[in-house]
């Protein structure tokens, strides 16, 4: 039954509001959402946490580019959580986190986030920083306000305040007449834009650092080389052991100069309170210094000599030479029974612990099944324990002994592998090792091969690198610190000063507000008020104008 009312019926039914059917956002919309999401500070926070988490993992799981032997041990199950866990980590790319695609994406996302934030903020900053100070209303309602009575007329009081604020580097603006917000002439002051400016500079520094890093990486190169005393190496690709050129560093970018190692010296601090000459165990000594004296040769002519030591790299022709490592390289000669020289070289050894130096070298091979290899162990300061076990007293070559073992058989050396990775299972070792002092000769029976230990030079290990982009990196670092400090310590604040006639002089109203660091501003305001009070002569007291204390 229809109701009749006196109310006029609507001309037409209001349209029934039905919510539109849900639809997936289109690609452009999604891009918009993503862009806005990336620009938020909370997103930046989560990205930073993810970055930190990735680094934590990379600290405790050995990273292949940094420490490959440990990674090898982990994969083999010799060290670490075991083979299965290591295999799982490998599948997730955990042994090279910093090179992994997801870490790269994280960094890219962060950069996009920073960019998305920087652009509008920079625009806003340029606008705001250029604006003149605005006037203030209702000064007495602000928590930082003070009234000072003075005998000066309003104009002079205001001028005194202006001088004071100028000295404190405030930007000033005088508002009078129609512009004055509260009727009386007002001095509006503002400063502290360095907070935002500094923050922007700090964040821009990330781009600069990234650019410097990329330039150095792409256009530079790092190479490792070991040189025996008296020998030389040339700056060409084949000279280097570990060779990592940048993408845009080509063979022709090598300078081609030659470096000759004239002399290598290593000295140790004396052991405190231990007589090393009669020690029963290895006494590890702290190295005091290891120094290489080198000569640079260009086009066959020696051009310069210099000393390379740790923490003191040497530069030549744009390249840098770093002292990285050193070791022993005993010189040996191997002769057949009828005197033919089979092998003559200095073999670089590595310290396997307790100053025991070990190395391997191919001697000769007739065919795949008949290969010869020498395993050498050097004890620089050889002695025997009471049980007859050889050891070295100190790292210094006071009494060097070379222990040589000969391996023969199908050692697998025809493959392009380092001598130390020969096939131990397939090969056979002559049971009796030779123990030689420098200058001695020994014979491997029953083969009759003669081994002469002729000399014991050192070898010096250098890193040669070309590092463009250094200046960019330093600039980035300066920008980072230069922007950080104002972004944390500066703060935007505004002050207003008005002077109205009061009694025989004037009453000066001082008020201020800070957007950040309010407690600090409250203190600064207090000291400003005191300074202003000091600079304004006190009002001559009359009955009805009490001087404000």
């Amino acid at each position: 039954m229809t109701e009749t009312t006196n109310a006029p019926t609507p001309l037409r039914e209001p349209p029934r509001h039905r919510p539109p059917p849900p639809r997936l956002p289109g690609p452009l919309e999604t891009l918009g959402y993503t862009w806005r999401w990336l620009r938020r500070m909370s997103t930046a926070l989560w990205l930073l946490f993810a970055l930190a988490a990735a680094s934590v993992v990379a600290t405790f799981i050995p990273q292949e580019p940094v420490i490959p032997p440990t990674v090898r041990d982990w994969r083999a199950g010799v060290d670490g959580p075991g083979e299965e866990v290591a295999a799982a980590l490998d599948a997730l790319g955990m042994f090279d986190i910093y090179g992994s695609w997801w870490f790269m994406s994280l960094v890219v996302l962060l950069l996009v986030s920073v960019t998305g934030c920087l652009i509008p903020r920079t625009r806003m900053f340029l606008r705001t920083a250029r604006r003149r100070p605005v006037g203030g209303r209702n000064l007495s309602r602000l928590s930082n306000h003070a009234a000072i009575d003075t005998s000066l007329p309003p104009d002079e009081a205001l001028a005194a305040a202006r001088r004071l604020l100028r000295r404190r580097r405030f930007r000033l603006r005088r508002l009078e007449g129609d512009d004055a917000p509260n009727g009386a002439t007002q001095l509006a002051a503002e400063r502290g834009h360095a907070r935002e400016g500094g923050s922007l500079v700090f964040h821009v520094s990330f781009y600069v650092l990234l650019a410097g890093g990329v330039i150095g990486h792409a256009f530079g190169f790092i190479g490792q080389v070991n040189v025996i005393e008296g020998e030389r190496f040339a700056d060409t690709q084949i000279a280097y052991g570990g060779y990592t050129p940048g993408r845009f560093f080509g063979l022709e970018d090598h300078r081609g100069f030659t470096v000759q190692l004239d002399e290598f010296e290593v000295s140790y601090y004396p052991a405190e309170g231990i007589d090393t000459a009669s020690a029963e165990r290895h006494v590890p000594l702290t190295p005091a210094e290891f120094v290489s004296r080198v000569t640079f040769i260009e086009d066959g002519e020696p051009v310069a000599t210099d000393t390379v030591r740790v923490n003191h790299p040497v530069g030549f022709d744009g390249m840098n030479l770093y002292q990285v490592r050193f070791g022993f390289a005993p010189s040996v000669e191997v002769r057949t029974p009828n005197g033919t020289l089979l092998f003559e070289d200095s073999v670089m050894l590595t310290d396997e612990g307790a100053s025991t130096w070990v190395g391997y070298t191919r001697v000769a091979s007739a065919d795949v099944d008949n290969q010869l290899l020498l395993e050498l162990v050097l004890l620089p300061d050889a002695a025997l324990t009471s049980d007859g076990i050889p050891f070295t007293r100190t790292p210094e070559p006071h009494n060097p002994r070379l222990v040589a073992m000969l391996w023969f058989g199908p050692l697998g050396l025809e493959r392009n592998i380092p001598a130390s990775e020969f096939d131990r299972d397939a090969g056979r070792q002559l049971p009796q090792p030779l123990i030689l002092a420098p200058g001695d000769t020994g014979t491997f029976e029953p083969l009759g091969l003669e081994l002469a230990f002729t000399d014991l030079p050192y070898y010096s290990g250098f890193q040669v690198s070309y590092e463009p982009g250094r200046g960019v990196l330093i600039t980035g670092a300066i920008l980072m610190l230069g922007g950080l400090i104002p972004s944390l310590y500066s703060y935007r604040r505004r002050l207003w000063v008005e002077a109205r006639p009061h009694g025989s002089g004037s009453r000066v109203t001082l008020a201020g507000v800070a957007l950040q660091r309010k407690p600090t501003f409250a203190e600064a305001f207090g000291s400003l008020e005191e300074d202003l009070r000091d600079s304004l002569p006190a009002a001559t007291s009359t009955a009805d104008t009490p001087v404000k204390r």
Binding site: M41, L48, V66, F125, N138, T286, Y322, L515, Q516
Partner: protein
């Protein structure tokens, strides 16, 4: 080469300083116990408490003087700056922690009740120094550079400031929990205990400056004072709540248990020594209970948060400089600025976490407790970088002679 006589003197002085700090710490806690918490929530001292407090201060200053002498003699004994191994570094950390605590906490802010905890952190550092003791000796060539003074001292300074900041942050979290629960119990409206929560300040990215400009003359800024007053105590409701209510609302179980577990686990993982783990855990448990007892005597949570923020703000540029100096030194010594070796990645994630803390302080919804927790995680990262990476992980950075 090493002057053993001076080295002996240095060790003796270290032990004297250690004991002095221990006694001073106890004295500070005694002072705290002798403090009355008045109706308006403000702690006020008793005469006995003040006397004990003065003794405590005298002890700390005396101990610090002895401590610095121990460091100087150590340097003279080894004929180099005494910052080359973990023993010396930990000793410096303890000394600087106390200096920062005295300057920032006691003299600048007058929070004597917090000093006990700062001293506790310093004593823990001294203990770790003893565990890591190494005879005075010369350094390897890699450490013979003037960069050691620049890089290591800045990391040391930054770390000690961050240790104090952590102490204040932890106390803030405790006090804030207490205040919230008391407020919830008495039903009053709680405006948020951090000064930052009420103000607009810096907020999300792009809206930031627009918001700032619009609010300058507004009344919004005046609410800061009200928040302060609300946060610390409410005159009427305290008759119901009582000043010691702050302690009542907190469960005394979590306070010893959580620090015990954390300290014991950390010690166990890094040193693999069950006895040391038990000892460290017990010390942490005692500190936890002390914190529970101390809650009503602490400054208001808003003030603690503000102080923590200012201390973190001071530390961050120093930390940044330290990392940059380390990179420059790495270039001189090892031929590359940054190689992602474990110490470098450790300092990286520590830096990122503290940067996260500063970001959180400027992000709506993260200010206050959430940011404080970020700072706590950052501190944990700092400790991991210092102890675990040095002792546990293999890399270029392992200290000579540890």
């Amino acid at each position: 080469m090493v002057d053993t006589q001076l080295a002996q003197t240095s060790n003796v002085l270290f032990n004297v300083a250690f004991v002095t700090y221990l006694v001073a710490m106890v004295a500070y806690f005694f002072r705290l116990a002798f403090t009355r918490v008045a109706v308006d929530g403000v702690p006020s001292g008793t005469r006995a408490g003040e006397r004990v407090g003065q003794v405590a201060t005298a002890l700390v200053i005396g101990g610090a003087l002895v401590h610095v002498t121990s460091l100087v003699t150590r340097g003279l004994a080894a004929d180099r700056m005494p910052i080359a191994n973990m023993y010396e570094y930990s000793s410096w950390l303890a000394f600087l922690t106390i200096v920062v605590g005295l300057v920032a906490v006691q003299w600048r802010m007058g929070y004597r009740n917090v000093m006990g905890f700062v001293l506790a952190l310093a004593v823990l550092q001294m203990t770790s120094a003893l565990l890591l003791f190494a005879e005075a000796g010369p350094v390897v060539p890699a450490l013979r550079s003037y960069w050691i003074n620049i890089h290591v001292s800045s990391m040391m300074a930054a770390s000690s400031v961050l240790i104090v900041a952590f102490g204040v942050t932890a106390l803030y979290l405790v006090k804030d929990t207490a205040e919230r629960r008391v407020a919830a119990r008495s039903g009053e409206r709680f405006g948020g205990s951090t000064v930052g929560a009420a103000q607009s300040g810096d907020s999300d990215g792009a809206d930031a400056v627009g918001a700032i400009d619009g609010r300058v003359e507004g009344a919004a800024l005046d609410t800061v004072d009200e928040t302060h007053a609300r946060g610390s105590a409410d005159e009427d409701d305290d008759v119901v709540a009582g000043p010691l209510a702050h302690r009542d609302v907190l469960s005394p179980v979590a306070f010893p248990v959580v620090p015990f577990v954390v300290a014991a686990a950390f010690t166990m993982i890094v040193w693999r020594a069950p006895v040391a783990a038990l000892a460290a855990g017990s010390v942490a448990a005692v500190l936890g209970i002390a914190a529970w007892y101390a809650v009503p005597h602490l400054p208001a949570a808003a003030n603690l948060d503000s102080l923590a923020y200012r201390i973190h703000t001071f530390a961050f540029p120093v930390l940044t400089f330290g990392v940059i100096a380390g990179a420059i030194w790495a270039q001189e010594a090892w031929g590359r600025y940054w190689g992602w070796d474990p110490k470098e990645t450790g300092s990286f994630f520590t830096w990122v976490l503290y940067a996260g803390y500063l970001h959180a302080r400027s992000t709506r919804g993260w200010r206050g407790r959430r940011a404080a927790w970020v700072a706590v995680v950052g501190f944990f990262a700092l400790m991991v970088t210092y102890y675990a990476v040095n002792l546990f992980v293999v890399g270029l950075h392992s200290y000579a002679g540890v």
